[in-house]
């Protein structure tokens, strides 16, 4: 059964002119630019503020505006559990470290997909992406298999549960794997990096300022603390920074991490709570400098 047959069961493939128009209308409602700027701006239309906003990593949502919404629990889908397991066994097998997944699924996808797809579907998205980018599978293998699995269930599930049916079991001995999944056994991450960062630059009680680095592509230092002063609450552990781990740089030098405490009324101009309220977050040494 070919791919074309699949569309009879569901609207996977756009087929008629009316359906194509409908899909294009949907895409046009994705918000990709600021309302005051047209799509495809010329260089003279782009301001520094806009550039910084586009550069901001889409997972970094702390402090963004949001109307209050109801809080809801959700029953877990079987595929969500299987997705969590899939991602973790890929880490277990040394195919990636979790920081690669976080970048690919939370940042590289851009804002529309980040905010538009369910949480675990982006984990899944990142599996496909990393396997293709690292050459473990080809785009064709993935695409053919998607068509094939779709076709297996083309007539509906009819009481069946979706089931993985590998055609063979591969020889894992020649697969390229990272060092972390061997070197961390019995120690854990970040304990495996203990003693490798040298002397810590700061100690508890030190006043520090978070640097305003022009962080392109990835970071885990939230925008809302950049440029702010805080106090070292705790010197925590040594580890490569996420900005290196996310690209699987195995030889990145570990550095010290710190839990930094900020005063909420200094962090937010309109903070209405008591002056004593605080916020803590963990920051690698490269992002900190002594505060004057």
């Amino acid at each position: 059964m070919g791919a074309g047959d699949v569309s009879a069961g569901r609207d996977v493939l756009v087929s008629t002119a009316a359906e194509r128009a409908k899909q294009l209308a949907l895409v046009s409602r994705l918000k990709t630019t600021f309302q005051e700027v047209p799509e495809w701006p010329t260089p003279d239309m782009e301001t520094h503020d806009h550039y910084l906003a586009y550069m901001k990593t889409s997972h970094d949502v702390g402090g963004e505006l949001n109307v209050p919404e109801p809080y809801e629990e959700k029953e877990e889908e079987q595929w969500e559990l299987m997705t969590y397991v899939l991602c973790e066994v890929l880490g277990w097998g040394g195919i990636w470290v979790s920081e690669e997944r976080r970048r690919i699924g939370n940042v590289d996808v851009g804002r529309a997909i980040y905010l538009g797809l369910p949480y675990y579907s982006r984990w899944l998205w990142s599996v496909g992406r990393v396997l293709v980018e690292k050459g473990y599978i080809s785009w064709g293998e993935l695409t053919d298999r998607l068509v094939e699995v779709q076709a297996r269930y083309a007539g509906g599930l009819n009481g069946r549960l979706p089931e993985a049916q590998p055609k063979s079991v591969g020889d894992g001995s020649k697969v390229a794997r990272n060092r972390a999944h061997i070197e961390q056994v019995g120690l854990g991450d970040p304990r495996a990096y203990a003693g490798k960062a040298g002397k810590a630059k700061f100690k508890p009680g030190d006043r520090v300022k978070v640097r305003e680095l022009p962080a392109m592509f990835y970071t885990r230092t939230p925008e809302y603390v950049r440029g702010a002063d805080g106090v070292i609450a705790e010197v925590t552990y040594e580890s490569p920074a996420p900005e290196d781990e996310t690209w699987a740089l195995e030889d990145a030098k570990p550095e010290w991490f710190y839990i930094v405490r900020f005063n909420q009324s200094e962090l937010w101009a309109t903070y209405t709570g008591p002056k004593t309220d605080t916020l803590q977050t963990e920051i690698p040494e490269r992002w900190l400098e002594a505060a004057g």
Partner: protein
């Protein structure tokens, strides 16, 4: 086929045929990727089975027991606050499980935040939804939403009040944004009215929400704040 015929067929189909239970896009993608991984030898079916068993049994029960033990035993409490990984072992959670180096996404750096009469902690991950999975299970849906993550770091008292938790000005609210390798859990204060209670009794009132910091334990309350649950299309197979 002309449009009107198509529409007619469609309407006709939907009135006579029973609804077809379709596989979802995400199920297709998960199955395709898992099959390819096994065929390429990236991991073994045995590893997948072991991790699935691990993932199916995680939940908030050991975390609640840990806090109950700490309320009853000052020595254990000191251990929990200085070496939370060792304290976890005492309630059956080894953070190195099931791989020998922990779960790849939740690391081996766990810290328990002690509330006092003048300090209240609440956790969030404004960057994704880092959460102490091995001891607390999977995070609730609301914990992952932009609604919670965007607002908690900036308007914590307003968010807490939406959970029904109003804290007086004399209590410092401390938001812990767990944005790196540390995973955090709150040790709430033991409430009045629990004098003489056993560990089992105390464990019952230490809800998941109270360990996140959006609720306080209360005698008689054994459930989380919000019970509305969106059903899955095909829930986890028991």
């Amino acid at each position: 086929m002309p449009d009107h015929d198509h529409d007619h067929d469609h309407d006709h189909d939907s009135t006579v045929k029973p609804m077809v239970e379709e596989i979802t896009d995400f199920e297709v993608l998960e199955i395709a990727l898992r099959e390819l991984c096994i065929e390429k030898g990236l991991f073994t079916a045995e590893q997948h089975r072991v991790f699935t068993e691990f993932a199916e049994q995680i939940g908030p029960t050991p975390a609640a027991r840990l806090v109950a033990k700490a309320w009853l035993d000052p020595e254990f409490k000191a251990l929990a606050l200085t070496d939370a990984l060792a304290a976890s072992k005492e309630v059956g959670v080894d953070w190195l499980d099931p791989t020998g180096f922990g779960t790849p996404s939740d690391f081996y750096a766990f810290k328990i935040l002690e509330d006092t009469p003048t300090l209240h902690h609440v956790i969030v991950c404004a960057l994704c939804s880092c959460y102490p999975r091995p001891i607390l299970g999977n995070s609730p849906e609301w914990y992952r939403t932009p609604n919670y993550r965007r607002r908690l770091v900036r308007w914590p008292r307003q968010v807490l009040s939406e959970f029904g938790l109003e804290l007086p000005d004399g209590v410092e609210v401390r938001v812990e944004d767990s944005n790196q390798k540390h995973r955090f859990m709150v040790m709430p204060l033991r409430p009045a009215g629990t004098e003489g209670w056993t560990e089992d009794q105390l464990t019952e009132i230490i809800t998941r929400d109270s360990l996140i910091g959006v609720a306080l334990p209360k005698p008689g309350v054994t459930t989380n704040v919000f019970s509305a649950t969106r059903p899955a299309i095909r829930p986890v197979v028991e």
